[in-house]
């Protein structure tokens, strides 16, 4: 299969539900940022040591969930093509909460602001956190742009909760990465 189709050379692309939209539309901004987030998370995994297979597996499962969320964002709500999408429920956010509590347990209590940094994996996790926050803002913008007074769909609501929780997960992950590297947090000396 060829990678390039040429069908997007003039600034438009097709949604999964068939509509042709501008590449600057809010929907594309949203799933484009989600793609960027997923890529940065991939860099986090790549920067982690080999002796963390369980944590790496967990993060890669999160990446799979982000692909599923991206498919929903690339589909107009109610379109027939949603039949091919896996339901995006509140379960992933709840699983993140469990993971956050697990990683946070061995960490020292946070009593000061910290600088995003430390080990490469921790630094990338902080970067992923900021991209995640931007993605969340873009999805909120999409929800406001597309749903008007009717409010977002249940799926969009679940994706928003997931992204909000994922930012927290990535913050704790950054601290955890420094912790397992024996570096600890990088305190702000302000």
């Amino acid at each position: 299969m060829k990678i390039y189709t040429g069908t997007g050379d003039r600034g438009k692309t097709s949604l999964f539900s068939g509509e042709r939209i501008s590449k600057s539309s809010p929907r594309l901004e949203a799933y484009g940022d989600l793609d960027e987030l997923n890529s940065v998370i991939g860099a986090v995994v790549a920067a982690m040591d080999e002796d963390q297979p369980a944590l790496k597996g967990e993060i890669m499962a999160i990446q799979a969930l982000l692909l599923e969320a991206g498919a929903w964002l690339a589909t107009t709500p109610g379109a027939a093509s949603t039949r091919f999408l896996k339901p995006f429920t509140k379960d992933p956010a709840e699983m993140l909460e469990i993971a956050i509590d697990r990683m946070n347990a061995p960490l020292p209590e946070l009593k000061h602001f910290i600088l995003p940094g430390g080990h490469l994996s921790a630094s990338l996790a902080h970067m992923a956190r900021t991209v995640c926050r931007r993605t969340e803002r873009r999805v909120i913008e999409l929800a406001e742009h597309e749903d008007g007074d009717s409010g977002p769909t249940d799926t969009l609501t679940h994706i928003l909760v997931f992204l909000n929780r994922l930012s927290d997960y990535l913050f704790v992950l950054a601290r955890y990465c420094n912790h397992i590297q024996g570096q600890g947090d990088v305190p702000w000396q302000g």
């Binding site: 040429g6 069908t7 003039r10 097709s14 999964f16 068939g18 042709r20 091919f84 992933p92 699983m95």
Partner: protein, 226 residues
């Protein structure tokens, strides 16, 4: 938290193989009872050292699963399928793909080149999208207009688009002399449609540009054979 996507695997045996047109074969395989698919989806043939994707032209409830295959000079699958004895077992995975009928929101315009008509054969045989459907089938010569009878008897409208000059124009009902892009530009009434494109990437790119320029509120669904 991990999820694993298991693509179903099947074994199916070759029941029949015949020529639909010069260079185009139809294969008929036994249908494993557990196979379930939506018209327009394809199966992946896992051959010895390579894979090939082919769209079913049969209906999901038929006794066999049928495919049409363009035979390519020097092609590995072409060589292997021509050598295969009746009864040969093939490993398949699937169904794959999302190129299925999306409902009657807008009039459907199906556009295919060559064996790209395969998903539309499955649509017609299953009765999906046919009432308001127009099919443009682009070929270079009339003898490659496969499945004509099915399209003529099922679809609201069927226009063979023949790109090379040919004699006996009366022998091909409603033929348009030229490419599918020419028909779309000159003949299709302005409006909002659901376009379904299946075939070579060049056709898909050219038709997409036309849609953006002339039918910009339409929806577009694509299956590329490249």
């Amino acid at each position: 938290m991990a999820r694993v996507s298991d693509t179903p695997r099947f074994t199916a045996s070759l029941v029949d193989r015949h020529w639909l047109a010069p260079g185009i074969l139809e294969l008929r395989l036994t249908r494993p009872v557990e196979i379930d698919f939506i018209p327009g989806q394809f199966m992946r043939f896992a051959m010895d050292g390579y894979e090939r994707d082919y769209t079913m032209v049969s209906t999901p409830d038929a006794e066999t699963i049928d495919f049409c295959v363009a035979v390519v000079d020097g092609g590995r699958f072409s060589r292997d399928i021509l050598r295969a004895d009746i009864g040969k077992r093939f490993q398949l995975t699937g169904p794959h793909g999302h190129f299925v009928f999306q409902g009657p929101a807008n009039p459907a315009v199906f556009v295919a080149t060559g064996t790209g008509v395969a998903p539309f054969v499955a649509f017609c045989r299953s009765g999906v999208g046919v009432d308001a459907g127009l099919l443009l089938h682009g070929v270079d010569t009339p003898d490659r207009l496969i499945y004509r009878e099915i399209f003529q008897s099922t679809l609201r409208d069927y226009i063979p688009c023949i790109s090379r000059p040919f004699e006996n124009r009366d022998s091909v009902e409603r033929a348009y002399s030229g490419r599918v892009t020419g028909y779309l530009k000159q003949q299709l009434t302005p409006g909002t449609y659901d376009f379904y494109l299946c075939g070579r990437g060049t056709m898909i790119r050219d038709v997409t540009e036309l849609i953006d320029d002339h039918f910009s509120d339409s929806r577009l669904f694509i299956e590329s054979y490249d």
